[in-house]
Symmetry: C2
Subunit: 291 residues, 2 copies
């Protein structure tokens, strides 16, 4: 019963089905990656959870209770959106105070420390911020607000490399001190591979993968070598991609490797990075849809 549970959710905009019968449960105290191609419905899903739009079918529950018109539930879920929802002439300090009022509070001292660290003047108006600093400001709220489920849509959009490092480090630190659920939607998959413990991948309106990252990594391989030997080795396995380098063939495999099969001397096995896995898995479903 515990957790943020999405059941059989479907959404259409005009006649286009954006989400088709999505079911996924976000457990307490876990850091999730919500991954998917541009325009695949990640932002729609976050808006549904935040009650900003409503689904034609299905439901969303928090610890067993529907979130629709449920203020108690909504106070426990904070959604940081990619869109700019704040009035441009509001000062950042005012937005912080308003947010603290609606949710169960906000760690003001920590927010000020973070603002200092990221070089953000909280006396500014929201409309004065660049893309990068808008992300930083929204990240500061997400890291300091009192909520059990915190959804971050593109938290590092426009951030430079140093600021991205700082954000990831703060996320890990605050999670260690007070474990709660973070659901991060991002396009920089390689950078969060060591932070998220669970990945949910959306493609073509469906959940195509919902798994522990550790588990995923033990099944993600690149097998290289001469065509004939490599092809024999991967026979019957779930091959999601193929690349060629001169005479050498590489297969991207997402599967448990067969223990009984002998690896020839000319064939090499290596780990596939999470981003490659994502690229091939989501390409596959897109092609299937079009074909």
């Amino acid at each position: 019963m515990n957790g943020l549970k999405i059941s059989h959710l479907s959404v259409k905009f005009k006649k286009k089905e954006v989400l088709q019968d999505i079911s996924v449960t976000f457990q307490p105290q876990t850091i999730y990656g919500l991954l998917g191609r541009n325009g695949i419905g990640k932002t729609t899903l976050l808006s549904l959870i935040a009650n900003r739009i409503f689904a034609q079918d299905g439901e969303i529950t928090l610890d067993g209770h529907s979130v629709v018109d449920n203020d108690l539930a909504l106070q426990r879920i904070y959604v940081m959106g990619e869109r700019n929802l704040y009035p441009k002439n509001l000062k950042l300090v005012t937005i912080l105070a308003d947010t603290a009022g609606f949710y169960g509070g906000l760690d003001q001292a920590y927010a000020e420390r973070l603002a200092q660290k990221f070089g953000l003047d909280l006396e500014q108006k929201y409309g004065q911020l660049s893309t990068g600093y808008r992300s930083i400001f929204k990240d500061i709220i997400a890291l300091t607000v009192t909520a059990d489920y915190i959804l971050l849509d593109e938290p590092v959009l426009g951030l430079d490399a140093n600021h991205r490092d700082m954000f990831y480090q703060e996320l890990i630190d605050t999670y260690a001190k007070k474990p709660r659920t973070f659901i991060m939607s991002t396009h920089l998959i390689e950078e969060v591979a060591n932070i998220i413990t669970h990945a949910v991948i959306l493609s073509a309106g469906k959940v195509i993968l919902d798994e522990e990252v550790d588990e995923m990594m033990t099944k993600s391989y690149l097998v290289t070598g001469p065509e004939k030997e490599v092809t024999a080795y991967v026979e019957g396995l779930n091959v999601i991609g193929k690349e060629q380098l001169g005479r050498m063939t590489g297969y991207y495999v997402y599967d448990d490797l067969p223990e009984m099969r002998i690896l020839p001397d000319t064939v090499y096995l290596e780990k596939m990075p999470l981003e490659k896995l994502f690229i091939y898995l989501t390409q596959q479903t897109t092609e299937r849809k079009e074909g």
Copy 2:
């Protein structure tokens, strides 16, 4: 005389000096990375080149002629901005046609192929696009417009991993067919490390590095091992960062390595990624400024 030359450029906003006496020359037919922290003045520099704002001091010339109020020069320089400069109710096809009119033309067939490839409907209005698709649309113009100097401000902002790969590949292809200068400002440094041939790094209002990427990489090392041995080895070298892992010490070195110095068996040398080099170089100047 050839090239886009920035000489002793200084800009102040209110009393704050954003760019301080910047000098740098962008050569013909070269792919540049213009790198810097958030808010360091990259966008200001691009706006100056595009004649959208003006400098208090210094000048910008193209092949020896000032770009100020020089329509002939400005037609040869295309600046793709991070800000959204197009009216929201204009159709994408109309924007393409207008751009073709102002510059020396635009490869319409290639633009349509790219739109198809990226899944972008050109009959849409600009205001309907998401952050990612705004970037894609602006990238399509940048790749197809007839100009000798093309400046891209955050070309992959909001793009998913597959789209980023596609964009980099198209950039390399179109450059190979028709070499011209691309100046890319981006925060995803590691991803462009193999694409750019020359890097210009801005920090604290100044150009702190202006060098061929190949040259930079031959001077960028991480030296690891026991503290005593490592410290002895890097003595007198330009150490830009230090990290500790238990008893092991790592120094990030940006320097030519001393040929005469013997590397002890316990000390390891490896290449430093471009992003690490960037992080340490720009941290250093920021700290120097604050100190």
